[in-house]
């Protein structure tokens, strides 16, 4: 570990720590924060990281590798199967038409058909990293646009495999291609052999996932050493990446495949929680390096050309995406979100473009230019989405609020309900059934349209935005129900509301016990764990099915509920003794263990002698009570 390594690490981490909170604060999202941090420390501005940026980019690509591993892990075959129409349909339309458009354009500029086709394929890719991160941060992952985005991205990510395999064939057919020295193992082989080798490597990953990795993980798990398991998880990801690199295939794709193969194994969740933190930080690093790699001198030399190129790419891509969205019947708002969200060129384009350059399909000059355009288009995405959210949608899409006739007095409801998902909707419907109208805040335009049709007063947009909260009457309301599905956004809402509208009583939906602890730390007590009451009700019914009298069982349930809430308060106070500010999986298990021990010691139903005429009597005594 030498000085430059530490120095570089400090620069990258420091830039992230400085820029990301600012970007978040300004409502721009963390991705843009990372990108700006990269631009700032890049060679053009501060020059803190210079020519070695490429090494770092290489290292940071590991964030993308891990992200794809995790995406793969989440893709259970059954889930994949359910989405197959969307993935194939939307994916093919988008990738196909976009490629054709760029193919036509670049042939017109004088590219050979092989090069134009290859460039078209590369530019049709969108950035999974940016889109998924952004959607998750905005809590839009579950909307129709979110689902369609995911499907299209998945199709693109998978199609990179055959594209990479096919590129050598294109190069073979290309007049410019020459068998040159290459860095990969297969460099010297003819195109067809390379293709076969790539497919062979993919097969190897799939087979070893089935027959080597799972037994290996089983063996490691039996050691009961947590860190060994983490090490194994990292080993699997890196080994796959290395293998892929050896045969000249993208490491990210290899690990994606490995993830898919492991999605059905019993270790899926453990792998997920082990890789997640690494992914987060490396993905951030990746965004920074993308920012740092933007070649501003290139832009300054030919500003108009580059800007035209970027605009052209984004315009073509978003038009095709709009068409794709139309085809999958997205509503206007959702379609706009989908189209602008995916309008950038993605990280896989870096891989494809540099591979093309190696194959001499693409000149150095064009490779640089296109890579620059890719990075710029990625940086533009968060800005485009911001523009969409603040300017386009309010004007042309579902309005943030429905204007009433001028003479109608705009009454503010005493209750504001943020988040009308499965949880919030039940609360809202219950209140409405009892004559209490709540002002609803939601960011799913489809849902908002429906609710408005049903006569609800709905504000459309990001509930953490202060102007929307104010418009919804947060200053006059009595109660704010924070029921947003994403715990992060919900917490942000609670924090902001408490700060800006201290008179509001905030009632919070918490995802689970650990989520609830976070809220308790900030002093709120009206916390409703979505997993508590229902679970107990189910437990009560289990007792009933086992032959318990229904009343005794529900009494036991009531007592348990009280006991659990009390235990929660007690543990919350204890929590800081252990310096455990952030819950990871291990601490959660510790708490679970503590709970189970306490339960055994203090059975809340044990001392229930209600209706028991004489608690001192032996059970065998015949009593009439």
């Amino acid at each position: 570990m030498n000085g430059t390594f530490l120095q570089n690490a400090l620069i990258y981490l420091g830039a992230a720590i400085l820029f990301v909170p600012i970007a978040k604060r300004l409502g721009m999202g963390s991705v843009l924060g990372y990108l700006l941090a990269g631009i700032a420390i890049g060679p053009f501005f501060l020059g803190l990281v210079g020519g070695k940026g490429e090494d770092i980019l290489h290292f940071a690509e590991f964030g993308v590798v891990m992200m794809l591993f995790l995406i793969g892990l989440e893709l259970e075959p059954s889930h994949f199967w359910r989405m197959r129409h969307l993935i194939l349909g939307a994916g093919m339309v988008q990738t196909g038409i976009t490629t054709l458009c760029f193919f036509a354009l670049f042939t017109a500029v004088g590219f050979s058909w092989q090069a134009a086709l290859a460039v078209g394929l590369a530019l049709s890719m969108s950035s999974t990293a940016i889109v998924l991160q952004t959607l998750r941060e905005k809590g839009l992952g579950r909307t129709e646009a979110g689902k369609t985005s995911f499907a299209v991205l998945l199709f693109q990510d998978i199609s990179v495999i055959p594209i990479l395999a096919a590129l050598p064939l294109l190069a073979l057919a290309s007049p410019r291609a020459a068998a040159d020295s290459q860095t990969t193992l297969l460099g010297g082989l003819p195109g067809w052999a390379q293709t076969i080798a790539l497919l062979g490597a993919v097969g190897l990953v799939i087979l070893s996932g089935r027959f080597v990795i799972v037994p290996f993980l089983r063996f490691i798990a039996r050691m009961h050493l947590r860190e060994l398991f983490t090490a194994s998880a990292l080993f699997i990801v890196m080994a796959t990446a290395y293998l892929m690199e050896l045969v000249g295939l993208s490491p990210a794709l290899g690990s994606f495949l490995a993830g898919v193969v492991l999605a059905n194994s019993e270790y899926r969740h453990e792998l997920e929680s082990d890789i997640e933190p690494f992914k987060g930080i490396l993905l951030g690093l990746f965004f920074i390096t993308v920012g740092a790699s933007i070649n501003f001198s290139l832009i300054l030399n030919r500003p108009l050309a580059i800007i035209a190129l970027v605009f052209g790419i984004i315009a073509v891509k978003s038009l095709v995406l709009l068409l794709t969205g139309k085809m999958t019947r997205l509503t206007f708002d959702q379609n706009l979100l989908f189209a602008l969200g995916l309008a950038q060129v993605g990280e896989f384009a870096f891989v494809l473009l540099s591979f093309m350059n190696q194959l001499h399909l693409l000149s150095n000059d064009w490779t640089d230019t296109l890579m620059g355009a890719t990075a710029i288009s990625m940086t533009a995405t968060p800005l485009l989405l911001l523009l969409n959210e603040r300017l386009l949608l309010p004007r042309f899409g579902t309005p943030e609020r429905v204007k009433k006739e001028a003479d109608a007095i705009d009454l503010h409801h005493p209750v504001i309900l943020a988040g009308f998902g499965p949880f919030g909707s039940t609360v809202g419907r219950f209140l409405r059934a009892n004559g209490v109208e709540a002002t609803i805040l939601d960011n799913d335009s489809d849902r908002v349209d429906l609710l408005r049709k049903m006569g609800f007063k709905v504000f459309y947009g990001d509930a953490t935005r202060i102007d929307i909260l104010k418009a919804a009457g947060a200053e006059q309301a009595k109660i704010l129900i924070a029921a947003i599905g994403s715990p992060e956004i919900n917490r942000e809402l609670v924090d902001k509301a408490r700060q800006l509208f201290p008179h509001l009583e905030i009632m919070i939906r918490a995802e689970n016990r650990f989520d609830a602890y976070e809220y308790m730390d900030s002093g709120t007590m009206d916390i409703y764990r979505e997993t508590l009451d229902t679970s107990i009700r189910m437990g009560v019914d289990v007792l009933v099915k086992l032959g318990y009298r229904r009343y005794s069982a529900s009494r036991a349930g009531q007592k348990y509920l009280k006991y659990d809430e009390a235990a929660m308060q007690k543990l919350a106070a204890h929590r800081h003794d252990q310096n455990a500010y952030i819950f990871n999986a291990r601490e959660q298990i510790q708490i679970q263990e503590q709970l189970l021990t306490n339960d055994r010691e203090a059975n809340p139903s044990l001392n229930d002698h209600a209706w028991d005429g004489d608690p001192f009597a032996k059970p065998s005594e015949d009593r009439s009570s």
């Binding site: 009494r555 009531q558 209600a610 028991d612 004489d614 608690p615």
Partner: protein, 201 residues
Amino acid sequence: MNPILILFAHPLFEKSRVNRALLSGVDQLPGVTLHDLYEHYPDFNVDIGKEQTLIAAHQIIIWHHPLYMYGAPALLKQWIDLVLEFGWAHGRGGDSLKGKIAFNTLTAGGSREVYATPGHNRFTLREFLAPFEQTAALCRMMYLPPFAVHGTHLLTEAQLKHHAALYRALLERLSEGSFGPETMRRFPLLNDWLEHAPGEP
């Protein structure tokens, strides 16, 4: 001073004009604790320990409720069944309530006349309250006649005000200790004691 605990049980308090009048401002009287059972235990899951602590801190217990089908609303019965435990309120070692005073305050739709042997309801109010009286006896408490507001549907505002004032006066006198249980017991209702022996202890 005798601390008074009003155990109030009404499942639909918000719609009871009479009880709102009777109870308005009562919890501000010194030494009076108003304990709204349906507000505390909407799920009927009475906290036995908490209730026993509460009783221990008071000298006079009032079961305040409407008369439903000649008895108390279900939650008050639940409270009695759960809180007045064997070994605490009665039976072996159960003398926590010994020497305390208990009575019922109730509101009834029927007029005073129908609660009589020849009347429509065939029994007197006091007879309907026999389970309370015996419960008090079992727990070695002193049981007093009830305070009752009859014919609640027909009360005029003025009559209602009168009853409320009377109840307030009762609470004040009980709290101050200006009463003699023996005298009180000679009257069928505490209302009569208040009307006929205003100054007398």
